[in-house]
Symmetry: C2
Subunit: 132 residues, 2 copies
């Protein structure tokens, strides 16, 4: 079966995208929601790591390419409408969020306000520092 | 704090929507991805059950209104970009999918094809049958 078949069976939006949820295979936590186009999903399978489409930068984005926080992909699922992807991942560093937290979903609604309920594991300045 | 504040802090898309992921609080499984507009999220909080915006029917959709498979909401989280919602839910009947499966994500990519890897718990004809 050619690669085109399973990629064709995804219900891409008019913009050619689907949302992709990454779930930690160990903690079970939902880590991120990002977007994939056809090339991103094909690359994810080919490389075994999460590759997304950055809508703001309009380019492929290999998760962890700057931070080192790669999402190694164990399984890829599709939902009944074939328009959402679910990745089971091994999260490099145990940190998915650019704020240095395990998960991007660290805000919880409590008493009518969004509260930060998860700890910062690593200071973002240490994650993203570059050799000058 | 008025209701408007926390609703205003969500980054609604140009269409006024955000994706909402429902995760089973017991099994940890990702059950569904659906969409919410402002009214759907406000109703979810007010009613303690998942209320989505059906993009195809263009109306509010109280999950389980036909099937009985209500998603009772325990916590509501928001991600760092404030444009995706994560619900921790107690899934009535243990079935979230209209196909009678626990989760909508029952297709897994294996050897270049999407395979049905989860069992049907209840025949959809029995879920949706109506008194005539």
């Amino acid at each position: 079966m050619s690669e085109a078949d399973w990629l064709d069976q995804v219900n891409w939006s008019r913009e050619g995208l689907v949302p992709a949820i990454a779930q930690d295979r160990d903690s079970g936590r939902v880590l991120t929601l990002a977007w994939m186009n056809r090339e991103a999903l094909a690359s994810t399978i080919a490389e075994g790591r999460a590759v997304y489409w950055s809508r703001s930068r309009r380019r492929l984005w290999r998760k962890g390419e700057e931070s080192g926080h790669v999402q190694w992909v164990e399984t890829v699922r599709l939902d009944c409408d074939r328009d959402t992807v679910l990745l089971s991942v091994r999260q490099e560093g145990g940190i998915a969020c650019h704020t240095g937290r395990e998960s991007c979903f660290y805000l919880q609604l409590q008493d009518g306000a969004w509260r930060e309920v998860d700890p910062v594991i690593k200071d973002p300045e240490r994650i993203y520092k570059r050799d000058k």
